[in-house]
């Protein structure tokens, strides 16, 4: 288990040659179905690297870990925007925690690490 695509949100990246997640998955696991929605071939192969999660322009992809690792309901979404990535981590009771990670360019002089 790794990532789940919300078909109500995914638009197959519109007229793009291939969806961003299909382009970026390091295991070549994301494919485009005939209905122009992205899906993962097999979650057993997923490395949980979140490359697809972050690059999805519609935030249609969420990461969930297998039950042998973590209880169901803990879910991670993210979005790469210009110089940072924003994250939404949902815990098992539904509470959401938000994070930001600076990703490119000069970091703040005294970063809050």
């Amino acid at each position: 288990m790794g990532v789940f695509v919300d078909e109500n949100v995914c638009n197959g990246c519109g007229i793009a040659v291939e969806p961003m997640c299909v382009r970026d998955c390091p295991g070549d696991l994301m494919i485009l179905k005939e209905n122009r929605k992205a899906m993962i071939r097999d979650n057993r192969e997923c490395w949980d690297c979140a490359a697809c999660v972050k690059v999805c322009p519609t935030q249609a992809i969420a990461m969930q870990l297998p039950s042998s690792v973590i209880v169901r309901g803990v879910r991670l979404k993210g979005r790469a925007i210009k110089h940072k990535t924003t994250w939404k981590l949902r815990l098992r009771d539904g509470t959401e925690r938000n994070y930001e990670t600076p990703s490119t360019g000069s970091p703040p002089f005294t970063p809050s690490l």
Binding site: R23, C25, D28, K54, T101
Partner: protein, 582 residues
Amino acid sequence: MNDFEELSCDLLVIGGGAAGCVAAIEAREKAPDLDVLLVEKAHIYRSGCLAAGISALNAYLTPGETAESFLRYTIRDTHGIVRDDLVLSMAREVNEQSHRVEKWGLPIPRDENGHPLKRGRASIKILGERIKPIIGKATEASGARILNRVNVTGLASHRGRIIGAFGFHVRTGKFYAIRAKAVLVCTGGTAGLYRPNNPGMAAHRMWYSPFNTGAGFAMGIRAGAEMTSFEFRFIPLRIKDAIAPTGEIAQWLGAKQINAKGEPYLEKYYQHLGGARMTTQDRLYATLQEKAAGRGPCYLDLRNVDPRKLEGTTRAYLSMAPPAAMLLQDEMYYGRGGGSMAPVEITGSEPHVVGGHGLSGYWIDEKRRTTLPGLWAAGDVAGGSPKKYAPGAWAEGVLAMRDMIEVARERKMPELDEEQVLGERDRVFAPFEEKQGTPPRELEERLQKVMDEYAGGISQGYGYSEGELDIAEIHLRRLEQEFPAITASSLHELLHAHELMDRVTVSQTLVAHMAHRKETRWHCYQERLDYPERDDARWSVFVNSVRRGDRIEMVERPVERAALEVVLPPLADGAIIRHGGE
């Protein structure tokens, strides 16, 4: 039959990870008149080890450190078996290459004096969530030719010289034959040789990239390249279940390793191994010993850490191992923590063959030339120089490319041998011809079971003896004999078929190395239960191998110490061993 295309280039780079991308950029900058082609099986934006990001550069000389001090640290950690020439030449490049990647956009936080924030003597903090897209885009901007989605399966040769490579497109099935004046292999190390930590659905929740399957090792072994130190298996100590790096917690937060009784066990029970200053492998060994002594499991103690710092740690994990962030937060609120941080359980991972952390890989010279003329190696496929991590991979890619440029200028474009092209094409697509055969996933399960049980996997506490290795060897030979019966019904499964075959080939060389070294030099990494002591008088040598057909010939190479003195960790009887010096 499948589409076919022949390509030619002056400089061929196989693998678009850390080493390959920077090597290709170096080629464009230093030799814009030469044509460089980079071939990658996924897409260079997120391929290889750096896909999820990294939060530190672990081979960076902080103020006061030198290439020599880095070498001294490496020699001590590998109990003397290390190539001083490779470590020194790499260490002299790591800072410059790190600053180069910083210029492309990698954020490196600095203190008020302009120094990168230090995490350890040779480790600095970075904000590396997007490190791979940054490098990938710099590679595109350099003007290097990039061929994404082509999985290289083998090397082309002429009278012993490497003159190119073969591969297939994982989306279209087109077969590529590429000729080149100089070839760099940098496809990464190998995960998935052993049964992994997590089962079934979570099998790929592992530390190393599951998509690094030893293709570069396997193509070199098949072509007769000399390999070194496969028996030095790298097994990192990880956060249990998430199998994520512990350095973030241990180095950055200063969390101590404690046992189930809450004792700092490294200091309390293992002073003879060096206590808190023991080698990387001994930290893992001590953790296993605690379990055997009835004091397991072991943890990293986060109870006294400032919770605000833990939020920073969560962000760091999001930038390199997102599952660890999920686990950390879930544990903190709902696990044993009950609102504050509980100790985090630690465990050893599956064993890997990887030259960027360990010693194993191609036997190369200072210019990163392999023993096969025309072929260079860099990064995780290159042996003899451990602890290179990302900066070392960049350094090696650059060092290799500088020499390749000189060689390529002197050489004419080679011609491929048609028989070799057709032979490799048949081998590549054979799993499509076999309709009733065995799917690669089933053979992967068998490989991992054999390696786990008979070649010192997790279930065996990493230990093994000669009798078990003999059985492993027989099983691996049988697996190899079943290659013609492997079936694939899609291009993706064809990729798996080759990944599986490559891992079997790597395992055969690995087991031959494990059988040859008759001592225990590196606990857990190389744990011979039938020869439990370190034997410096006999085994202060590199164990190397060359495969010729079915036979794996073992050779030993001397360790040549640079002019510096290093005191190795003491032997079991307390004897002090010095290396080098007067």
